[in-house]
Symmetry: C2
Subunit: 262 residues, 2 copies
């Protein structure tokens, strides 16, 4: 039996391919986990341009060409149709199924986007001594739809979605410094303090994820969030879209340190 | 009469729109100059994906949607069909014309890519005390086709093209440090010393631009080069492509400092 912390990315993907369903937090530590969004080729240009225009919300790590099921981040034995523990399938913007294997939905015109995830910088925050409350509380990060819109691309547009981590005032600068060194996984905060300026009026009522305690002396710090691209894509109602179930990410062969800039 | 160094970006673009033909080096200092590549929408996805996969060679700064002639980098009065001092027009990969105004070739399905240019980091190198030889010599930077291939995207592929600047050995680390802070304009060097490993056997015979003196104690330092995307696009022979003539860049409203990362 492989323990999550001892699993190689390849071994973890094999377990998921064989049917294991589990959130991936804590699996193959030190290796980058990614958000997945699979779309028909007809919708891919607008999405790629949307990502280019909103890089802090939608940092593309790699793209698998139409019909390809693996690529450099997943190794020769990878298969994007089976290697995520749990998928969500959307038709015309509506969730129609969850599955551990999307082979029955696969089409030769599907393009898969691997998108950076904040798991990467959270490890770096903890190492730098910045507490990460939702990890301490064993819950999901709180996420909020803001009153700001992303820059649109073709038919794609949607609200800016942010994640929030409360940071002690004396560590906010450290949190900025650490995360700005990971531009490929959301990078520096978009907004620090003053939730109302983002249209967030009740911080205890996140739109996605779980509320977390904000203690005396802590400032809410807001980062770009990987839910942003999904929210925009759902608004545009593509015929088919496949994503990962929340927290059930793509485990890649790439080390987190690869995304650290000097 | 506006002097190049005193011109605002908007004033410079107006002069070019009115027919002035001049290389743009030294114009509107402090403002970002960009490479231009305009392609039919049918070729745009492959190009955008090629750029995503080869970011050091092809750093996209912005994309004007199909048929749009201006965007946030050019201001409301901008017009990408007229605001570059000199254009090159390619049909099926062959240069067919040079012009100061490409309105006669314009089509509603044309998408324009603004691509980062090393002018931005050269100013920073000089400020950091690193000599830039081709500027000292008043010539164009030497560029070389290497024996390495870019990562392909769809039908697009081509050789990695690099620019070279000789740097005194004791300043090579400074040159790395300074340019790595500008990832949107080619970023850190791809290769330092050992030209033969790139398939460059005669450094005095660049494939594009001009040879420069390499003095005793200087190391050739190689950066990703904006000729790379053009070379790949030309190999794929799109029905129509419009670019800038070498050295005759798009002057944007964005300050160079905007591309400085912490």
């Amino acid at each position: 039996m492989t323990s999550p912390a001892a699993a190689t990315p390849s071994a973890a993907r094999k377990l998921f391919r064989d049917g294991l369903i589990t959130p991936t937090a804590g699996w193959a530590p030190g290796y980058t986990q990614a958000n997945l969004l699979t779309l028909p080729r007809a919708d891919a240009y607008d999405f790629l341009l949307f990502a280019q225009r909103n890089p802090k919300s939608c940092p593309i790590l790699d793209v698998l060409d139409a019909g390809e099921v693996t690529g450099p981040m997943l190794g020769e034995d990878g298969d994007i149709r089976t290697d995520v523990p749990l998928y969500r399938i959307y038709e015309n913007g509506e969730l129609v199924d969850e599955a551990t294997d999307v082979t029955p939905w696969w089409r030769e015109d599907l393009v898969s986007f691997l998108i950076g995830c904040s798991f990467t910088f959270e490890a770096a925050l903890i190492e730098a001594g910045v507490p990460v409350r939702h990890i301490e509380q064993g819950s999901n990060v709180p996420m909020y739809k803001t009153s700001q819109r992303c820059r649109p691309a073709g038919g794609l547009s949607g609200p800016l979605v942010v994640s929030m981590r409360p940071v002690p005032a004396e560590l906010v600068a450290t949190a900025v410094r650490v995360t700005s060194r990971y531009p490929a996984v959301h990078g520096a905060p978009l907004h620090i303090g003053d939730a109302a300026a983002l249209g967030i009026y009740d911080i205890d009522q996140p739109d996605f994820g779980d509320a977390v305690d904000i203690r005396r002396g802590e400032i809410p710090v807001f980062w770009g969030c990987g839910v942003t691209p999904q929210a925009a894509v759902m608004e545009s109602r593509p015929a088919l879209a496949i994503g990962h179930a929340p927290g059930h990410m793509v485990i890649t062969d790439v080390r987190d340190s690869q995304y650290l800039v000097p």
